[in-house]
Every structure is written in C-alpha cells, then in structure tokens.
C-alpha cells in the first residue's frame, strides 16, 4: 500500500514466474519434479448474437419452428395474414411444485427477420404469463382481434430464467431436427 507506515506487500516467491523458476531449479538439481504447464488463461471472449441465424428459405425456417414447437407440446395463435412471419406461442411451463396461484402458461413471440437476401434471423421474445385453464391472460388489455398489446412494463417479469430455459429447449429441438 502507498501509505508510509504500511508493510502490506505481495510475496515475491508466490508470483507464477518466480515459483516456476524455483521449481525448475529443483529439476536442475535432478530432484524428481514433474514439469507442469500453466492452464491457458486465454479467455476466448464469449461472442453474443441476437437471436439465431438461418440460411434456409423463410418458409422452411417457419416449418422447422412449427415442427419443433409441436414436438415440445407448445400451442400457437393461428397466424393472421399480416403476421405470416410471427408466431405467438403459449407454453405450459412444467416442473416444480404446482400451486394454482402460479401462472404457468408462458407466452413467447417468435419473429423471423430478414437481414439480407438469404440471411435470416429468428428472435424469441418473452410475452408474459397466463394462468392455466382460465384461458384469460393476466393482463386484461386485449384489443379486438385477441392479441395482447400488453404494456411493455407489464410483461417485464424479472426472472428471465423460465424464458431462457424454454428458449434453450426450442433451440436444442431445432438443432437436433436440422
């Protein structure tokens, strides 16, 4: 530490280079010391992408997604003419001790985007919870054609982990199918 009356210090013999030199000197004294290499500290920076990318034809992509959703037991709203490339999913969220107070139908919006010719991107978006069986969404702000135009804040349930978990299930299903 910089202050005058401090004797806090770093032990020189504990620095990796110095420790290595100390151990190598033992090897020179042909003491039975094994040469061991440090683990690589190169931390390959995690590269994050938005959604998942696909080079298949748009209709093929949509077909694969519907097939994966079906295999995973999810439901979806019948797509309207204007929203052919959007899938509004409802998913029974299993696991855990069920209590009827817990809404366990998770809504997710899956959207296909075109980045450039022959380069598409599928994004998943959390779209709130519904309680089982009642069919009603926990937000009663439905507009006329049954879509949920929920306030952005309304669906920002803090824990993304159920949503992330279902997303991994869907991505794995798509990866396995393809």
């Amino acid at each position: 530490s910089s202050s005058p009356n401090s004797t806090i210090a770093i032990l020189p013999s504990s620095l990796p280079q110095i420790h290595r030199a100390y151990m190598m000197s033992k090897i020179q004294q042909n003491q039975a010391v094994q040469k061991v290499n440090p683990i690589s500290t190169k931390k390959s920076k995690t590269r994050w992408h938005f959604g998942i990318r696909s080079r298949s034809y748009p209709l093929d992509v949509m077909g694969e997604i519907y097939r994966a959703l079906k295999n995973l037991g999810a439901e979806w709203v019948k797509p309207s003419e204007e929203e052919l490339w959007t899938i509004r999913v409802r998913w029974k969220y299993g696991g855990g001790v069920k209590s009827d107070v817990e809404p366990d139908l998770m809504r997710m919006v899956i959207q296909l985007f075109q980045l450039e010719p022959n380069n598409y991107l599928v994004d998943f978006k959390f779209d709130g919870w519904e309680s089982n069986g009642k069919g009603k969404s926990d937000d009663n702000t439905k507009d006329d054609n049954g879509q949920h135009d929920v306030e952005e804040d309304e669906i920002s349930s803090f824990s993304a982990y159920p949503f992330l978990h279902l997303s991994t299930q869907l991505i794995l299903e798509l990866a396995v199918n393809s």
Binding site: L11, P12, M23, P38, I39, K43, V97, Y161
Partner: protein, 315 residues
C-alpha cells in the same frame, strides 16, 4: 496518542455499522451487471470450463426439472469431486460423466456436510446479509426475491464478502480512522495454522482444505518462512489440467498450473492497520493476508471473514 486512536477506532466502527444498516444489498449491485447461471444437467467438467472461461469461481444452479434454483456451485464442490475420485479411483468413469445434479450424491458418498444455503432479500439491510454470512461461515450470499408474476423465487445476484468490503472501502471515509495495529485488536492472531511444504502431496493439501473448511493452506520452507499459498481456486485449475495425472503431484508442482496472471499472495505484519488493509481492498483483488514477522516467518492469516466479523462485532 494510543487512547485517541482507540477512541477514533470505536467511532469509526460505529459509523461503518450504521452505514451497513442504512444500505441494502441492492445498493451494492452495479447499475448494470451480469449473472451466470448453470443448468444442473451440465457435466461438472463443462461447468468448470465455463467458470474458468468467465473468470468466476461460483455460480447459482438452475434445476430444469423443478424449474427452480438449486443452490450455488462453489470450489468446495470441486474439492468434493477430487476427494470422491481419490476414495473411489475405480469410479473414474462416473466422475467423467458426473453432472451438477450428482454433486449432492458425491457429498453423501464422502460424508461431507452440504454447505448451508443461506440467502437474503435484496432490499434487506446489508448488515443483515453480513451477519448471515458470518454465522454460516459462507463467503457469499445469494440475493433472492420472488417474481411478482409467477411467485417463483429468483436469484437477483450473489454478494461476496469481497464485494461488500470493497463497497465499504469505497464509500466509508471512516475506514481511514481504523489506525490501531493488528496486534492490539486481536484479528486472526489466535489461529492454529495448518501448513504444508512444497513437497507435500497436493492431495494432502486438498484434504486439509476440505476437512478444516479453509480456503487456503500456507506453504513454508524448513525455517517456517512463508513461500507460497495453495488456494481452493487452484483446485479448479488442477481438475482442468486432468484429474488422473495431477493428483500425484506435489503441491509445488501443482502450483505450476496457476495461470500467469495470478496476482500473488498478500502479506502484512502485526504493525499494520485496517485502514491500509481496507485501502488495499479498495484497489486490488485481495482475498486474505498472511501475517509474517520481520524475517518473513509465518505467524497467522487474516481472512475477509475476520475483517467483516471485526467490523460487525469487534471492539
């Protein structure tokens, strides 16, 4: 004068405790932060790579069968796996295929007490979170809230003693008034220090870590002079290096596995003060300090738990 310094120390401790009671754990969280969670169906070996790759030593677990959080993965779990492999070398295949789900069974197989799972609500006082950590000897505490929509518990973040002490060092000017020498305030001095030499088999050092619930073992030479330290974190690099080969190493050889960016072991003497220790925590990633005499001979160790305990209850 010594009396004045002692009086100032009491005033400073009172002020710091008031500060800890006036802040919540939520206040310690950065405005933007990340939380890495591991699915319990991951292989233990894979989870080790994820921790090392992200330069973290612990992570909350997510059980995708119960869709709930399942405690914390810490270096103690990896020490248990090594102990298990050492006790049952024929079970090598099982260790290779071990998933995070299986860690509780490993604890039972080597009759190790599971770490008490404590937690605190993000909006409870920071003081309460510290007291829970000291009582349970845990070095980190998950902040748990309940999702307002789904009533499911959620891990908001995990607070470590280091982060809390750094928060105090950054925000409490009174830490500069902690000027009493360590020898007068009895921190970490009455310890029965377990130690090793460079030739000690690394597996024996790992047993010491596990059986004494300590996170480091000092390494001394024939004159009891401190020359290095084996830390619980080093176990992760040992496993990454390949379990089967490295367990026969001496601790001196195992320490050659350390990555080049290891910052070194901090030492101090009994004349040092908490003011300069807190200043060092403010600037560096300090996890403990070994107390040595003027010849570098090992006397004792001050852990972050010792410092936190003194701040909460000392004097």
């Amino acid at each position: 004068t010594t009396e004045q310094i002692a009086k100032d120390q009491k005033i400073a401790l009172r002020a710091i405790r008031l500060f800890l009671k006036s802040k919540t754990s939520y206040d310690v969280l950065p405005v933007s932060y990340r939380l890495i969670v591991l699915d319990t169906s991951l292989l233990v070996k894979k989870s080790l790579n994820i921790l090392l790759q992200n330069s973290i030593v612990s992570a909350p677990l997510w059980n995708n069968k119960t869709s709930r959080f399942a405690g914390l993965l810490t270096s103690s779990d990896f020490i248990n796996v090594i102990q298990y492999y050492f006790q049952f070398p024929d079970k090598f295949d099982l260790v290779e295929k071990l998933t995070l789900d299986g860690l509780r069974d490993v604890e039972k197989a080597i009759s190790v007490e599971p770490i008490e799972t404590i937690s605190s609500h993000p909006f409870k006082s920071l003081y309460e979170a510290c007291v829970k950590m000291i009582d349970s000897k845990a070095r980190r505490i998950p902040l748990i809230d309940e999702d307002e929509k789904t009533n499911r518990e959620i891990v908001v973040s995990v607070l470590t003693q280091y982060r809390i002490l750094k928060f105090v060092a950054l925000n409490c000017r009174e830490t500069r008034m902690l000027l009493r020498p360590l020898k007068d305030i009895n921190i970490g001095t009455e310890k029965q220090m377990l130690r090793a030499t460079m030739e000690t088999p690394v597996i024996d050092v790992i047993h010491v870590l596990s059986q004494n619930s300590v996170s480091s073992v000092p390494i001394v030479d024939e004159n009891d002079k401190l020359i290095n330290v084996y830390e619980a974190y080093d176990v992760l690099t040992l496993i990454k290096g390949g379990l089967y080969t490295d367990l026969s190493l001496s601790v001196g050889e195992a320490l050659m596995r350390r990555s080049e960016d290891f910052e070194g072991v901090y030492t101090c003497t009994l004349n040092d003060r908490l003011s300069t220790i807190m200043e060092t925590i403010r600037k560096s990633r300090l996890h403990r300090l070994f107390i040595v005499d003027e010849n570098g001979k090992l006397i004792s160790v001050i852990t972050l738990s010792d410092i936190l305990k003194y701040i909460l209850f000392g004097d």
